[in-house]
Structure formats: structure tokens, C-alpha cells
Amino acid sequence: MAFQQLKLYQTGTFVAGNRLLDPEQRTVQARTGRSNSLTSGHRACRGCGEALGARYVLDAAMRATDGQLVAVNSTGCLEVFSTPYPESSWQLPWLHSLFGNGPAVASGVAAALRAQGRDHIRVIGQAGDGGTVDIGFGALSGMFERNDDVLFVCYDNEGYMNTGVQRSGATPPAARTANTKALGPEPGNAFGQGKFVPLIAMAHEIPYVATATVADLHDLEHKVETAMRFRGARYLHVFVPCPLGWGAASEDTVKLARLAKESGLFPVLEAEHGELTDVSPIRRQVPVEEYLRPQKRYAHLFGDPGRPDVVARLQARADRTIARFGLLPEGED
């Protein structure tokens, strides 16, 4: 037989696991005993990468902490779609305060737990890229430099989705958003702007920084588990496609996340105390075009006449990221 039939089994709500895997190697998400921290019934769009990411992250963190976990959430899609009054999808203690203060609120929770002698309970802060890299950035940096015992997770969907898809400091160049439309001679978001906060997090020399995508579940869960082995400030930046904001098919979320990594546009890495410790190599490099084409936010690059010059600039960006982090094993670039 040329290929082997997979034997899948169902675990609770809609999750399928691979029965052929050794139980120890199975993901947290594929285990029947997973916590379902963000349970079903929430109002996220179909194929929402953020919902997927949060579910993976929190279930892994719950397992790593034996259920002794508290989550703090900044305003944004994740908060809005999970708690339309009087319903809540959260099965763990969860606090939402404001858009710009998630990291500081999380610091306060951690301080309280320490003061109460309950610091076996761990704290996760979470926000979209807007709540992390823009409005919450001062608070995030403060939390980092004080080395507060918080894992802060940024679900990066590259824009302010909750308010109708506007640009954030993590929106990539050329991407169309509601306030960087495909108008004028430089359509979409400007080149030469924006920031990659994982590197800024590393500059704080906090114990642990990592990036991940929702395409590699094992890797993402592993990073959450690793993060939970450290005390002090930790940062996890998860790449989460947004079908609505990106104009992508709902079923392409995982594929786009994989292509972002495989094209070199999004580097998957790990760092400890400010030093890069690991990168996930590109397994099968793809041109950026393969990643860009399925997304309507880049449609202006592929119309008639199209903007091959802009695509080339984006390719150059990917090439630079590949070179910078050594994403292609020797001899392959």
C-alpha cells in the first residue's frame, strides 16, 4: 500500500487525535483529559486563528500547571467573542479589564498571588497584536523589565480586527486594512514601519521568548510547556491568521500559518535571557507569492497589471528574515 490510512479518534468537542501516536507524544489538544479552557459556543468567525491559538495555548498551560492558572485578557476579538453577556466560554478564572493594560493587570494578579502565598497559581496574560505591540506596549515592557511572573501571549493577526480590521504596529507592509487601503501609488500598509516585538522582548533579557504559529501544534504546545517551566517574565508571540480581516478562506487558516513560516516571512524561534537558542528551520521553502495570493488583503498586488515590484520587496523581506535567523539549513539558501 502506497500510503497508510490514518486512524483518527474523537476527543470531546470536535477534536480528532491520531490513534497511531504513542500516547505520550500526543498533543494536549488530542487528549481526552484536556481542560477545554476556551470551550465551544463562542462567537469567533469560522476558522479564526486566534480562537485556535488561545485554545491550544491555554489547554497546554492548564496541563503544565495542573489546572492552577489564571488568565488576564486585553480587549479585542478574543475577549469579545468569548464573553457576550451573559455567556462565557472560559472554564478557567478569567479577567478582562481594558485594551491597553493587560500586562499590568497580569502583573497585579501575580503580585497578589505572591503576597497571598499562592504563587503555585500561575498567570497568563493575553491580547491581540494591537493590545500587545501598540497600546499595551508600555505596560508590557514594564512587566518585562520588572521580571514579573507572567507569561504574556500575543495572538498576532496583524491588525485591529475587533474594530473592523485597521492597521497595527504588526501589520506587514503592502497589506490592505481599513485604514491602509489599496489606494494611491503605495497601496496598502507602508514599507519601513512596524515592529517585531519578540526581538524587543529579547532585548529585555527576560527568561524566555518564543514565537510559534497555529500550524505547528506540537511546537506551540511545547513552547507553552517550556515557558511554564520558567519563573519571571515570559513572552510568546503566536501567528494567528484571521480569515475575516485577511480575506482568506476559513479552511486556509492553518495552511496560511504554515506558508508564513515556510516562506520565511514569519520566523519561528526561541530565546532565553536575551540569547537566541533555537529556530525552526524552513522545511520546504515557498516563494512569498504562494502565501500572499490566497489573501484578499494582498489582492492589489496580483490584479492586472499587478505589482510585481511590491511582491519582490516582500520577497526581499522574507529573504532578509531567513538570512538573519538562519532559517534555511546550510546549503539550501
Binding site: L95, G100, A139
Partner: protein, 424 residues
Amino acid sequence: MPSQIEGSQAVARAVTLCRPQVIAAYPISPQTHIVESLSDRVRTGELAGCEYLMVESEFGAMSACIGASAAGARSYTATSSQGLLFMAEALFNASGLGLPVVMTVANRAIGAPINIWNDHSDSMAMRDSGWVQLYAESNQEAVDLHAQAFRLAETLSVPVMVCMDGFVLTHAFEQVELPSQEQVDDFLCPFVPQQALDPDDPVTIGAMVGPEAFAEVKYLMHAKQVAALDEVPRVAHAFRESFGRPSGGLLKPYRLEDADTVVVTLGSTLGTVEEVVDGLRDDGLRVGALGITCFRPWPLTEVREALGRAARVVVVERAFAVGAGGIVGQNTRDALRGLPAQVYDVVAGLGGRPITRAGVRSLVDDVLGDRLDPTRLHFHDLDHALVQRELERSRHGARPGPHAEHMLRALGTVASGVHDGAPG
């Protein structure tokens, strides 16, 4: 035994005795001595079991208090002026979430022009933030109000700010009776939060609420504030029972019995006004004073009760609603609706300008002599010539330039050192 002590140190000691578990603060004059002293007390172990977070901003300070309080810890911060406004969004959030955070506001003016001296424009700007606001008349009261604030906050699950005049109180050395740890421990029960983040009983705090229930949630906030109108006097009464001295409460009536003219004020100005009242009484004039200790919630019925027999009510306040008029004045007028009393709105002591006995005396004389127009906002001690000169200047020329700098130059304070007559 009373100690001779700086107001800020006394407050830091009082806060220490209340055993906060989390303090998050950011420095700003004139609050700094309080938070520096608390930092010392945490370091030396005098304040044990407390986490002190040196946050990156006041917004971070209030946010950390929100997180700490939601996790069930007694939480405290202090700020002033620009810092209080930098917290604004989080202030409304703390009250909306019903978190019993206690904060000292060392009252200071708000810029521009930047000014570090005392007035009430900071806390008054936050009067509708859902926080209880208590104003201390003296450093003794500032000390006493902190114990009361924690008790009040935790009984009702509302945040409370204790306002004390910056510099005038925070930096003044006075005799203060500091309570003992046992006294405060007896007065304050351990904090039992109404809701807390707990893995054994997971709850969602801060969910989104749409039109179907938002008004109801806000109504409950209001109801709690209304309940505070009963609770504030109850706590003050309990305080008197335990500590043997009066302190706090809603209002401070002074020689009101037969007064037909009453001066209403807040904070440390009350002491000055009371002395003026004594002088006026010696002259046979029926003048009294009313101190507002609790400005939020607004004790409307009690104010009406206290002032209902007066013919003239002069509200002297260290803040105003720009373009509208007096703030406490408006609230007072509201309380006196339908009664014959004439209310005079007087703005005084802005940006640290002193409110003197002579000034208050001449103000009351003007009121008694019908020389003050009750339909207009009155600016006490205003340098009319200076204002007129600047207005005149602006009328000529399309680009008059910055007012503040022109006025300082006119006063001779720019490039010639501080002029004697300069404010502050």
C-alpha cells in the same frame, strides 16, 4: 501619644497599619513622599507580606491594583494631578468591576500650564468615575480616613479615594495621633473579596455587556454609591467608638445653628474658613461653615438639611468646570432646589494660590454687602489688570502667542527670578 510628623509620613504609616498586600505606584509631586516612605516600609519589613510594584506609569499602577484586587488582595496606590488623569480609563474600570482599591490623591492642579501646587482640579475631574471621594481637612483626618477608606471600600466593594491637599497637607509637619496596629487590626477585618480569581472556583470577570443589561449594571453601581451615604457615617461612627476621636463622615457643620450665611468648602480650606467664621461671630454676624468630607457620593439630602435655613451660601472651591462654573456649587444648588437660599460660586486657590483668612473675610463681607453677583462665577483674588492686559493684547494681531508666558513676563517672573507676587 501624638507625633510631630510630616503628612505624607503619617499617611504612609496609616496605610502600613492597614496591611495592604499589593502597592503599585508611580511617583509624582506632591504624592512622592508617601510612596517613597511605603517603599521603605516594605523593604524594612515593617509592612510585611506586601508586594510593592514600581510600575511604568499611573495607568499601570491602577491596572496592577485592578489585577491584584481581582485576585483578592488588599490593594493601594497614590497619585496626583496628571497621574490621576493618566489613570482615568482604569479608574472607571476599577469602579465598574466593583474592586475595593484605596488610593490617596495628593491634590494638585492640572496643566497646561504645568503647575505642581495644590488645587482640586484633579480629583474633581474624576468626580464621576464611580469612586467614593473623601476629602481630608487635616493630616490627622487624612490618617484616620485611610483606615475608614479600606473598611468602606471592602464593605461595599467600591473603590475609595482619600483626597488630601498637596503640599498644604502632604508636606506639612503637624501633631498627629497615629493609631496602634492593634487598633487598626480591630477596626479592619481581613479582606474577603465579593468575587476573586480562583482556579477552584473559576469565574469570568469583566465580560462584555450590551444594551440588554448595561443600564442595570450601572444602576447597581449607583445603588452602591447611594448605600455609601449610609455606610460612610456608620464607618465614621465605628471609628469614633474605636479610636475615641471624631473623623470622617459626610459633612462637617460648623456653627450652623442659626447661621443665615454659610461658607461651604472642602479639604484644608475648612480650617481657615472656620477661623474666619469665629471672627465674624465675634462681630455678631450669623455666619457658619459647612465642610464637605464626602463629595462622592453627593450627600444631597444631608446638604439640603444642613443649608436649608441659610439665606446665602458661599461655595469656595479649588476647581471649576471650565466654561460652565462651580462644581461643588452646582451640586449645592441642586441640593437647595426650591429653597430660597442664594448660592454664590467662588473659585479660589487655583494652582497653589493661598486662600487666606483676610481673603475669606473680605469675600464674606462682599457677600453680606451685596457686592457679589450670585448669577456669575466669581474668581477670588484674580489679577484683573493682568487678565485685561492679555485680553487686550490678543485683540490686536492675529498671532498673540502663548498667554502664560506673556503673563509671567508682565509679572516680571520670566528671566528675573521668581517675583514676590507670583502664585505658589
